[in-house]
Symmetry: C2
Subunit: 423 residues, 2 copies
C-alpha cells in the first residue's frame, strides 16, 4: 500500500479506533445450499450477521445509493440519522438478503435496529442498518431474533474480522484498512471495512462500508469530508456498470481520542479528511481488485485535464468500457479501445490529442501519441499487460487537473458468477 507521511497503517479494521467493539456470526438467513458449479470460496455457514458498537454516542454521517429503488435498510438508516440529527452508537448489518422490494421491508429493517438497541440500552434511532444480498425475497427476521443475544454478548474490541466476514457476498477476500495519525497532540485512529465485488458503479456510495474513528469531529464536518472523499474514491470505481439498491457508506466518530472537536475547515479537518481518504482509497482498490471474476486491477490515471470533474469523467469512461476491460484481460494493447472510450465520455474536452501509456511493474509503453496510433514493441506491451495491476496513463494536454478511476478486467468468471446469482 502506498505510504503517506504522518499516517501509519495498522491492524484492527472497524475496531482500530478506541471504544469500538464488533462481532459477527452465522445466523442462517439463507439456508439453501450453493449448487454444483457455482461454489463460493466462502463456506455456506460463513458469518451473515454483524454488529459494530461504540462505547459512547458517536457523531455520524452517511452517503447512500442514488438508485430510485432503495432497499428498506437505506430508508430506515436515512430516517434514523435525520431523527437523531447525525448521531448513532451502533450499526447492524447482514448479507444473503437485501430486504429490498419487499412489502414488509421497512418494518423488518426497523426490527433489526430495535433488536440491537434493546440489548445495548440505546434508542432504536441510534442504530444504523445495512443489508445486502438477493432482492425481492422476503427477509427472514427469525434467525436474527434467535441470535441477537449471542451477537451482542460476544461483542469484542478485537473482533473486527468476524464482522468483516459477515458482510461478504461474492467477495473472495475481506476488506479492512486502518490508519493511526496525530491530531491536536493526540493519537487518533480511523479504520473501516467494506464489501462488494459486483454491481459496483460510480455515482453512488458503492457497496456497504463502515468507517469508525476515535477523532472528535462534528456530524456536519464528517458529512462534508465524506462527500468530498467519496467523489474521488468509491465514486471513481466501477466493476460492472450496475448500481445497487442498498449501497451505504457510514462514518461514526466517538471522540475518545480526546482531540478538540473539529467543527470547521482548517488544518485539523484536513488531517482527518486525509485519513478518511487513505482508508477509502485503499478499500476502493481492494474492491476493484476483487471485482467479480477479476484477474487484474485496472487504474486509469488521467492528467492534463482542464478540471477535476473532466478528469474524473474521462477516467471513469475508460474504466467502465467493456471492450477496454476485455482487452486488458487478454493483455491486448489495443489503443483504439482507450481512444474510443475517451471519445464517448460525456464532456466537452477535446480528447483527440491524447497520449496513452500502459504501465505496470514490467515497464511503461506509449501506444498512442497526440491521438495517433503508434508502432510499439508488442512483446513489451504484452509483458506489461500480463501483470495483475495495470495503469492506463493518459495525458490530455488540455490543462493541469488529474484524477484516478479504478476497475478490473472482464472475464469468463464474471459471467459465470452472475449467470445464476440467486441459487
Amino acid at each position: 500500500m502506498k505510504e503517506f507521511e504522518g499516517y501509519k497503517y495498522i491492524e484492527g479494521g472497524v475496531c482500530a479506533a478506541k471504544g469500538f467493539k464488533a462481532n459477527g456470526l452465522y445466523c442462517g438467513i439463507k439456508k439453501s445450499p450453493v449448487p454444483d458449479g457455482n461454489e463460493s470460496p466462502i463456506s455456506n455457514t460463513k458469518n451473515d450477521l454483524c454488529l459494530v458498537a461504540s462505547d459512547v454516542m458517536c457523531n455520524a454521517a452517511s452517503v447512500f445509493t442514488q438508485n430510485k429503488v432503495k432497499g428498506a435498510p437505506v430508508v430506515v438508516s436515512q430516517k434514523n440519522l435525520a431523527a437523531t440529527g447525525g448521531r448513532a452508537q451502533a450499526f447492524i448489518l447482514n448479507s444473503k438478503n437485501a430486504n429490498t422490494c419487499n412489502a414488509d421491508g421497512e418494518e423488518k429493517a426497523y426490527r433489526m435496529c430495535e433488536l440491537a438497541a434493546e440489548r445495548l440500552g440505546i434508542k432504536r434511532e441510534e442504530v444504523l442498518v445495512a443489508q445486502t444480498g438477493v432482492i425481492g425475497q422476503v427477509f427472514p427476521i427469525e434467525p436474527v431474533e434467535e441470535k441477537i443475544d449471542e451477537l451482542v454478548a460476544g461483542l469484542g474490541y478485537e473482533k473486527n474480522l468476524e464482522a468483516a466476514i459477515a458482510i461478504m457476498t461474492t467477495d473472495t477476500v475481506k476488506k479492512e484498512v486502518a490508519v493511526e495519525f496525530e491530531l491536536d497532540g493526540k493519537l487518533c485512529h480511523l479504520g473501516g471495512m467494506g464489501k462488494g465485488s459486483g454491481m459496483i458503479h460510480p455515482n453512488m456510495a458503492t457497496t456497504l462500508n463502515i468507517i469508525t474513528t476515535d477523532c472528535a469531529v462534528s456530524a456536519e464536518m464528517i458529512q462534508k469530508a465524506l462527500s468530498d472523499v467519496v467523489k474521488i474514491t468509491y465514486n471513481c470505481l466501477s466493476v460492472d456498470g450496475d448500481q445497487s439498491t442498498n449501497d451505504t457508506c457510514a462514518v461514526m466518530a466517538n471522540g475518545l481520542a480526546g482531540n478538540t472537536e473539529i467543527t470547521s475547515e482548517g488544518k485539523d479537518y484536513e488531517v482527518f479528511k486525509q485519513a478518511l481518504y487513505i482508508v477509502m482509497m485503499n478499500i476502493t482498490r481492494m474492491l476493484a481488485k476483487d471485482g467479480e471474476g477479476a484477474t487484474k486491477l485496472l487504474e486509469c490515471h488521467v492528467t492534463g485535464a482542464p478540471d477535476l470533474d473532466t478528469a474524473i469523467i474521462i477516467a471513469k469512461s475508460v474504466i467502465c468500457s467493456p471492450l477496454v476491460k476485455c482487452a486488458m484481460y487478454g493483455a491486448d494493447a489495443n489503443c483504439g479501445r482507450i481512444m474510443c472510450a475517451m471519445g464517448y465520455a460525456e464532456t466537452d474536452c477535446d480528447v483527440t490529442h491524447a497520449d496513452v501509456y500502459y504501465i505496470s511493474k514490467a515497464g511503461k509503453i506509449l501506444v498512442c501519441g497526440k491521438g495517433l496510433g503508434l508502432q510499439f514493441d508488442e512483446d513489451l506491451a504484452k509483458a506489461i499487460l500480463s501483470e495483475d495491476e495495470i495503469t492506463i496513463f493518459v495525458d490530455l494536454h488540455e490543462g493541469d487537473a488529474e484524477a484516478t478511476a479504478w476497475g478490473c478486467d472482464l472475464t469468463y468468471d464474471y459471467v459465470k458468477i452472475n449467470g445464476d446469482y440467486r441459487s
Copy 2:
C-alpha cells in the same frame, strides 16, 4: 419476422430497389492470419471491400457516431454530404481497418471516394465512405487501388450478398432486409444491409448501415424520417455499452420508382417512413441477436410510461445492465436485477410500483407485482428463459407511452472475442 400490412418482405438487400448495383471482394486490407483459439466463423479471405452504386444520382441523408473521436471516413462523408447538399451516387466501404486515429486518415478516406468516382464517372464528393475494423493502425490504400477496377467492373444488380459480407467484422451472419410497398400507385422498394456485433450502444447511429430505395423523396425528408426512426430502432439497441468511432447509417433514394417526390410530411411520407422503420427495426433485431458471443435476443418492452423518452430510457437501462444480461444467459429469473436497473435509469419516473413479466415462446410469468418480488413457478420461469428470444415486459402504471429496447445476453464468448481483438 413480424408482418406489417401493406408491406411485403423481399430478397435483395441493398439491391432490392431499382437501379442499385453492388459488388464486394477480398482485397487484403489485413493480411495477418487469425491465431489459434480465436477463430472467426468467417474465412480470412472473406470480402473486405464493397461498393454500392446507383444508376442515377440519389438524394441522401445520414446519421453518424456521436463519439468525439471520429473515424476519418465519418469526417469525409459528412463533408461530402455538406458539399453536395445531400446528394450521393455511390457508397464505398471496407472492413478490417477503421482508418481512425491515423495521421493520414482523411487523405486516404478521400482517396477511397476518388478511386470509385473516377471509374463511375462521377465527382469525388458524390461518393460516401465508411470503414470499420482496428483503430490506430495505418490504413493500407494499396490493396484498394489494386482491386478498384475489378470491384467496379463486377458491379451487378443482384450482388447485394457480396457487399453484405464485405462489411462483416465479428458478425457471424450477414444482415439484410428489404420490403416492397406501394406509393402513389407505384411499386416501391426499400432495402438495407448492416454490420455490427460488438461496440454497439444507444445514442448514436450504431454500426455501419446502408439503406437504398427507389422512392422519390427529398434529402430533407429522408433526414427527418431517418432521425425519427433511428431514435426508436438503432438507438434502442445495446450490445456492450461501448460507442464506436465510425458508426454511419446512410439512406440513398434514387427516385426510379416514379412516384411523385415526397417533399413534406403527409400520407406518402408516413408510408415511406414506415418502410424505413420495418427495415431498420429488423436489422436492429438481427444486430442484437448476433451480439458478440450472444446466445439470446433480449427485448425489453416498457409500457405505462409517462412519455416516449422515459419509456426508451428505462427500456435501455434494463437492456444495458450487465447483471440482467448475465442473469438471462443463466436463465435466472432474478427480478431484483430488473428493478435495480430501472431504478438507476436517468429519469424522474417512479419505477417502484412496476409489474415485471418474462415472456417467450414457452410462456409468460409475472415475477414482480407493484414493485414487490413474488413467489413464482421456478420451473416455468426456467423454461421461459431457456428460449433464444426473451421479452422482459414492464408495466410502470405511470402513463400510456411505450417503447422497446433490444440487446443480448452476456456470455463467456463475449469475453473471449474481445480479449484479443487486434490479432
